[in-house]
């Protein structure tokens, strides 16, 4: 049972806080000999697996590290192009780590503002007048819960689909926000939250919610 991450979005759609509580890390590191039986191709800023899924390495996984050194986009740690490096038989045997690419903070900002717009569209698409925006988004691997306060702040929690008690958790996060962020006299409204106490209390609340498991707290 896990809560993957928490995001707080302000009135204008800007991300003011995000916490990766528990990422389902699916990295696999394997040693390969020439020739490489996976097909790799460049995609955006990364080198991803296009074909040849096996042993936990799936299509779409990116090359995260070569021989223990983290790659920098499409270049190895030494600055050589990854695809060139891997097509040279002299560099083998080589140990490559594949995994799902972690979101950069810019990407998170973008996704948060996109969600903010979708939330607004959701409330307008509704056949009923005065409906709320998107409250829950369900996929096969996670559920996204969103709670918008009357003041326009959105609290978004991504969790395991079987995790219960997220509604109560969202209300609790609202309380923690109103205590440790808003009551901090040096915190300006709508700005990124950089309050130690907020972090600590949020992590505590997440742990309590996780321990409660699939039946919710109080069981």
């Amino acid at each position: 049972m896990a809560i993957f991450s928490v995001y707080v979005v302000n009135k204008a759609g800007g991300l003011i806080y995000q916490l990766e509580h528990c990422a389902p890390r699916t990295d696999t590191e394997k040693t390969f000999s020439y020739p490489l039986d996976l097909v790799l191709r460049p995609h955006d800023e990364r080198v991803v697996v296009a074909f040849g899924q096996r042993d936990g390495i799936r299509v779409g996984h990116a090359v995260l590290a070569i021989n223990g050194a983290e790659v920098n986009g499409r270049l190895t740690a030494e600055g050589k192009d990854v695809l060139e490096f891997l097509s040279n038989p002299a560099n083998y045997p080589v140990s490559i780590r594949f995994g799902r690419h972690r979101l950069s903070s810019n990407e998170k900002l973008m996704l948060a503002s996109m969600f903010h717009s979708l939330f607004a569209i959701g409330s307008q698409l509704s056949p009923e007048v005065g409906s709320s925006g998107i409250e829950m988004l369900e996929t096969d691997t996670f559920k996204l819960h969103c709670f918008q306060t009357l003041t326009g702040i959105k609290f978004v929690v991504l969790a395991d689909p079987r995790q219960a008690g997220i509604d109560a958790l969202l209300r609790k996060i609202y309380e923690i926000y109103s205590d440790f962020a808003l009551k901090n006299p040096f915190y300006s409204l709508e700005m990124p939250i950089r309050c130690e106490l907020f972090d600590q209390n949020l992590k505590q609340a997440l742990e309590v919610a996780e321990k409660a498991g699939p039946f919710g707290p109080g069981s």
């Binding site: 607004a120 918008q148 109103s178 505590q204 609340a205």
Partner: protein
Amino acid sequence: MSRAPGRKQENNKISRELFVLTYGALVAQLCKDFEKDEDVNICLDRMGYDIGIRLIDDFLARSAVKKCRSYSETTDMIAQVAFKMYLGVTASVNCCSAAGNEFSLILDKNPLVDFVEELPAERASLCYCNLLCGVIRGALEMVHLAAEVTFLRDRLKGDAVTEIGITFLRKAEDKKNKRN
């Protein structure tokens, strides 16, 4: 309004006297800093506004009230729930205008003026509790309700009761982005 059991079991209350004294010291210092009563009133209102924009989320988080659908519901909420939660007193609501956007809150007991008898002669137009007006104005603004909040009558100035008037202004936020 109860806190989670994870919090330290400390006594969350501090003395009411301390709070009233602090407020009194604040007003007294402002009176020393500014000559004109108007300036003091404006300063208190601004301070109240800064408090109000933060207090509203605390109020909504702890009381879990639903969205109010009318101005009179909103005023009732302020008078009965909010005043009770923060000052320990309730106010009664009066609707003054036919248009339905002017209300007033009548305060029987005002804890902030516990120790104040009357205003000094040279401070006749000082609104001692103007902080409250700012708080209400700031809080309403954060839930997208623009309002003007002033003191209509004040016991400290010799009137019979203390009355705070709230006038709701035209909603500026009637665009496509209706937030709930």
